[in-house]
Amino acid sequence: MAHAGAQPAVDRLAFEAAVRSESRKLYGLAYSVLRDAGEAEDAVQETMELAWRAWQSMRDPEHRGAWLRQICLRRCLRLRRRLKNRWPLRDAEPAPAELETHDLDLERAFARLSLRQRAVLALHYHYGYPLDQCAGLMRCRPGTVRSHLARALARLRKELQDG
């Protein structure tokens, strides 16, 4: 007899496979937005915990990747809000480890963007999502995403010119 609340073995195996195949990709996404290894780990951890709870609602393996990215992105935005209250002045400067990246000017400019601006840049330019899909992932209107993108680019240009 199955344990109350336990899920079928096939789900557990599928979930474990998803953890092994998707965690690192999710970590890359989370790191792009949060710019912090520990916070990115936390975001992926929470994503997987949430995903497991709702695993039976997502039966189509083809859409699991997008589904996990959506959860992860939302966790990033929420996690960041929470951590911002815990760690004061977090965004003041890039961490020393990050100073070793080559494009320091862009690094500093990127750090000054809002989370949503960073997210739309990463999703659209690196992960190749059309803006409409970015809006779906970020749970906002396409017009809002376009606005985030335009402001992000304008701010980057300004920071790079001033910097």
Binding site: A2, V19, S32, M48, E49, W87, P96, L106, L153, R157
Partner: protein
């Protein structure tokens, strides 16, 4: 985007960000923490079988190792968690570095107890304190032997007859073993028995004792001639157990150009974390594999300014630079910098003080004055933040209260049980109870450097 240059830079930058990799065992950590209900039950028999098999293989491995020691993979000491609360009588006494003005500026230490009585002055003194706080092991002076001194009373417990008569460089956590060093030679000393266990001459690889394991069986020496050496006491002699050469066979040694300012063994019993002021780095050294697993850059204005503050449970290292009030927090388990911030700017009553600070660097006698201390439960930080002696919540650093404002205090030491806080300025020690009440102030009749043992 109509700006190809920005697009190129952005593509490159985003690719680098997205290419960041988590720790190698990341997925396993996730699976361990996600409550997959039936999995653990179903796998219990398999897990037991695996554990039994692992134990058998481990036993076989140890047996084989007993006859054929591996050249590069020494067994680390078994993990023995160090208690966060040190309850011994000696651990409650602050031993502070002093410089006698009237005796040719001789350097010594003074002990102050929780009632603000001076326990004893030991001048001259050079040596180390055991991790449990109960013993002081004095390096031998010319023509003398090493001495073991009770931290509770300041009395000499015994004299240790060493062969090398070298300076004491490391003491095991419980003070039962000490490591002396002279030139390229290393000596392991059984403190309780009061005798030498053996000497090894490491030649070019000698010099730079890093630490001794808690059980006193392993001594680690780093990093002359780009080598990290592990010595073992096998019950009859001290000998080289393994040696790693930087860059060879996957071994990587610290890039630090000088001995670390402070180091600590993590609860896993095999990882040594050290802060290297010379290279602005915190590094993690796997003593079992004899390799650095991580080097984390931190920011510092001057090597003599950045005070390292360890959480008693070994989970965090905080770095406070009192001149600038910059504060960094390193999560030792995750090997990441979790906080970098600047506390409120210190008041400067003297308008020219900032100018003096740019040119006058008070490098103390081989150590950095401790400007902070963490309570044994890890919840509170006592910090000299420029405005006075503050008590702050961890991890958010919010101020709970100020015990003293605008003081000239420049160093802190917290007793092992967390019940007494000692704060020193140039010639005075203020003793506070755990509730912030000032017990008394005492003047030891010497210049206090701010370094505590």
């Amino acid at each position: 985007m109509d700006d190809p240059d920005l697009r190129t830079r952005l593509d490159r930058y985003l690719a680098r960000q997205a290419g960041q990799r988590p720790p190698s065992n990341f997925e396993n950590h996730i699976l361990e923490r996600v409550p997959v209900a039936a999995r653990s039950r179903r796998w219990v028999p398999e897990a037991v079988a695996v554990l039994v098999a692992a134990a058998m293989i481990g036993g076989l491995f140890v047996a084989v190792r007993g006859t054929q020691p591996s050249p590069t993979s020494p067994p680390a000491s078994s993990p023995i968690p160090e208690p966060a609360v040190l309850s011994g009588a000696g651990a409650q006494v602050a031993w502070l570095l002093i410089q006698m003005q009237d005796q040719q500026h001789e350097v010594g230490i003074v002990g102050v107890d929780p009632r603000a009585y001076i326990v004893r002055k030991l001048v001259p003194f050079g040596g180390m304190r055991s991790g449990d706080g109960n013993r002081l092991i004095a390096s031998p002076f010319p023509g003398q032997q090493s001495q073991v001194i009770s931290a509770a009373t300041g009395e000499v417990e015994r004299t240790v007859v060493t062969q090398l008569n070298g300076g004491i460089r490391s003491v095991s956590w419980d003070g039962r073993f000490a490591v002396g060093e002279k030139g390229t030679q290393v000596e392991l000393v059984d403190v309780d028995a009061g005798r030498s266990l053996g000497i090894v001459d490491l030649g070019p690889a000698g010099g730079g004792v890093l630490g001794v394991s808690r059980d006193g069986k392993h001594v680690y020496v780093c990093c002359k001639a780009q080598k990290l050496t592990s010595l073992v006491w096998d019950g009859t002699s001290l000998r080289v157990e393994a040696q790693a050469l930087d860059g060879k066979d996957g071994h990587r040694l610290p890039s630090c150009g000088s001995p670390p300012a402070t180091s600590r063994m993590l609860p896993d019993g095999r990882t040594l974390v050290a802060y290297c002021p010379d290279g602005n780095r915190v590094w993690w050294l796997d003593l079992e594999r004899l390799t650095v697993t991580k080097e984390l850059p931190v920011e510092q204005g001057n090597p003599f300014w950045l005070a390292p503050i360890w959480a008693p449970d070994g989970s965090m290292l905080y770095l406070h630079e009192p001149r600038t009030n910059s504060f960094q927090a390193v999560d030792l388990r995750r090997q990441t910098l979790v906080l970098k911030t600047k506390l409120a700017v210190a008041r400067t009553p003297d308008p020219l003080r900032w100018l003096a600070e740019r040119f006058v660097i008070s490098a103390e006698a081989g150590c950095v004055g401790q400007t902070g201390a963490v309570s044994p439960d890890g919840q509170s930080l006592y910090l000299l933040d420029g405005r006075g002696l503050s008590v702050r919540r961890l991890p958010d650093l919010s101020v709970k209260s100020y015990w003293r404002r605008d003081s000239g205090m420049d160093a802190l030491w917290l007793s092992g049980d967390g019940g007494t806080l000692y704060a020193s300025d140039h010639d005075r020690v203020s003793v506070f109870g755990g509730d912030g009440r000032l017990v008394a102030e005492v003047k030891p009749g010497a210049s206090i450097s701010g370094c505590a043992w």
